[in-house]
Amino acid sequence: MGNDNEIIDNIANKEYEFGFVTDIEMDVAPAGLNEDTIRYISAKKNEPEWLLEWRLKGLQAFRKQQLPTWQNFEMPEIDFQKISYYAAPKSKPKYDSLDQVDPELLATFEKLGIPLNEQKALAGVAVDVVFDSVSVTTTYKEKLKELGIIFCSFGEAVKEHPELVKKYVGSVVPHSDNIFAALNAAAFSDGSFVYIPKGVRCPMELSTYFRINTENTGQFERTLIIADEGSYVSYLEGCTAPMRDENQLHAAVVELIALGNAEIKYSTVQNWYPGDKDGKGGIYNFVTKRGICKGENSKISWTQVETGSSITWKYPSVILQGDNSTGEFYSVAVTRNKQIADTGTKMYHIGRNTRSRIISKGISAGEGQNSYRGLVQVGPKADSARNFTQCDSLLIGDRCGAHTFPYIESKNNTATVEHEATTSKIGEDQIFYLNQRGIDSEKAVALIINGYAKEVLNQLPMEFAVEAQKLLSITLEGSVG
């Protein structure tokens, strides 16, 4: 490793060679994944040596891994060498005004009731310097600081709190966990970092939405949340507005660590571009999310509303290590047109008297395919562990599909594992009943869907729940009839 500097110099020279002149172009790495790219990224970010080493280990793991073959869909071809692994966080706005933005996208914003300034930000339009949320963000940040809460970009955390990052990064999702996690370890762009000190209850929902500098951290995001003993935090990821991105592959990693008596609630609303009617051009959302209930009585709760992406492939999981710890997974996944979702969770019961609860609601319309895949594993020491799984599928029309793959591995006969599954169709009878009360079919479907998904939507923070409800209705517009 003695010749690191040489390599960095080399790359610096290459930069020049390739004729990077303007500021913007200078911040984009040439496509391809190799040691040079990784060193380039790390150098660009002024990262410490240990992090570079870790990235390189990730790269090695990535090279050894094969793409999985067990998933319930045909794996699209991904050319990892064609992807550009580094783009500077600040790129130019794509448009000068909203007039240039796809009117269909704007219509959706309208329906969701998103304020004009936020519409601009989301659509990639230049935003005035005095953006309302800047001042909001400042007060917000000060309040958090008073409580000792750290909420910043991953990159900032590496600089300001290296001891925390070093201790926990890769501790829940190792660099070699799976091929996409390895890719992320090697090439992660940026992401979020949260630390809640002992005994502190975070007084507000933390959301990347409120963090400045979050745009374009996109493709290989990495999030690390640590809740110290007796603390509580609720974190929101994503937003209901449709998100477009030129990067087709998204391979994020999220790691949650809950120490004794701590609780982390992690909510996601995922609405990435699903592709056109034939599924072309949509995002591949291959995310590794895992949390560990490290201490006694700790709790981790995942809630997700997945409506976007052409392929959603993820299993937010919980390792229940501490005695009496609890893991929860609440999910609504919608697929329509040619969309695919293969999602679910894994609950690893290790400690005594650990509990897990899984509520999964799949909704398939058009030719959408929805798979629930869940693993409940009970270890030999997990006396009196309990799991309850409810896994429902709702079909709209008869060209879509719903599949369930529940796996139970129990090595402890004091454990209780319950699994319930239902498959239902939105019946003509239900729609007619609502029609007969003056409600048109579009609204009728929205009512039925929101009723069906209620148990999950109820887990979301209030405002988010209302938005998610609207999102579900809009997503399924025109799918009945």
Partner: protein, 255 residues
């Protein structure tokens, strides 16, 4: 209010209504009786606009408009209400939210502003009292896990909330015990007015003791074969429907 002329309709190629005529005026209550499978529910479905029925002949005018030309929700917004024989369950959709949506749609159609939360709540309370509907059921999921009787009573509560001009009650009495029957009838009687009308489909004369009809019709073989006043209901109860068949056959041989 409702004029049905020579209505022919069928389902899946099977002819069920075969030239049915019926006129209902505002302020009237009509009872329709008849043997199982005669087409009573089919008539209700055709009037409400259920898609799988095909109307092959005839016309229906509702408050001067062509009913058959409207989609189901428009018929409902125009003031046609069907209390279903088998009310459907919709899990997770709260009864009250559903009603708020329905009332909102109907009011919007009539260019009326939506009721605010307070007004709506007041209305709901008033109607609950009127039809003696259990407040607990108001907040539960729509018909989910309701007993047969509770479902029927919920139909009447909805009827009270939506204030339609023409209500069709399809065997609302079946599955009700005598107390529930009395409560439902009391509710309907309170809702009766000069401006609205009811078509009550039933098997039993019993209901008609509580809700006294202006006319009683017998539906058999897809047509109204006999009409009369409430005495006809008693006659039917006594003699059953077989004598009607004989009468009809005689009629046929004469012709």
């Amino acid at each position: 209010m409702l004029i049905i002329k020579n209505l022919h309709a069928g389902i899946e190629g099977k002819q069920i209504l075969k030239g049915l005529n019926l006129t209902v005026n505002a302020g009237e209550v009509h009872a329709i009786m008849g043997p199982n499978g005669a087409g009573k529910s089919s008539l209700a479905s055709v009037l409400a606009g259920r898609e799988n029925y095909e109307v092959t002949e005839g016309e229906v005018s509702f408050q001067g408009k062509d009913l058959l030309d409207m989609n189901p929700e428009t018929r409902a917004r125009e003031g046609l209400f069907l209390a279903f024989q088998y009310p459907i369950e919709i899990p997770g959709v709260s009864n009250i939210n559903f009603l708020k949506t329905a009332l909102g749609e109907i009011r919007a159609y009539k260019n009326l502003p939506p009721l605010d939360a307070k007004e709506f709540l007041a209305l709901s309370r008033e109607k609950q009292k009127l039809v003696e509907f259990d407040a607990k059921l108001v907040n539960r999921s729509l018909n989910e896990g309701f007993s047969g009787g509770e479902k029927k009573r919920n139909e009447i509560f909805q009827l009270a909330m939506l204030e339609p001009s023409l209500s069709i009650l399809d065997e609302t009495d079946s599955g009700l015990d005598i107390d529930a029957l009395r409560i439902v009838s009391k509710g309907v009687n309170k809702l009766r007015s000069e401006k609205n009308a009811f078509i009550i489909i039933t098997h039993y004369q019993r209901l008609l003791e509580y809700i006294v009809p202006d006319f009683v019709h017998v539906l058999a073989n897809g047509r109204i074969v006999k009409s009369g006043t409430k005495e006809l209901a008693l006659e039917l109860e006594e003699k059953g429907y077989d004598w009607l068949k004989e009468e009809k056959e005689q009629e046929a041989t004469i012709i």
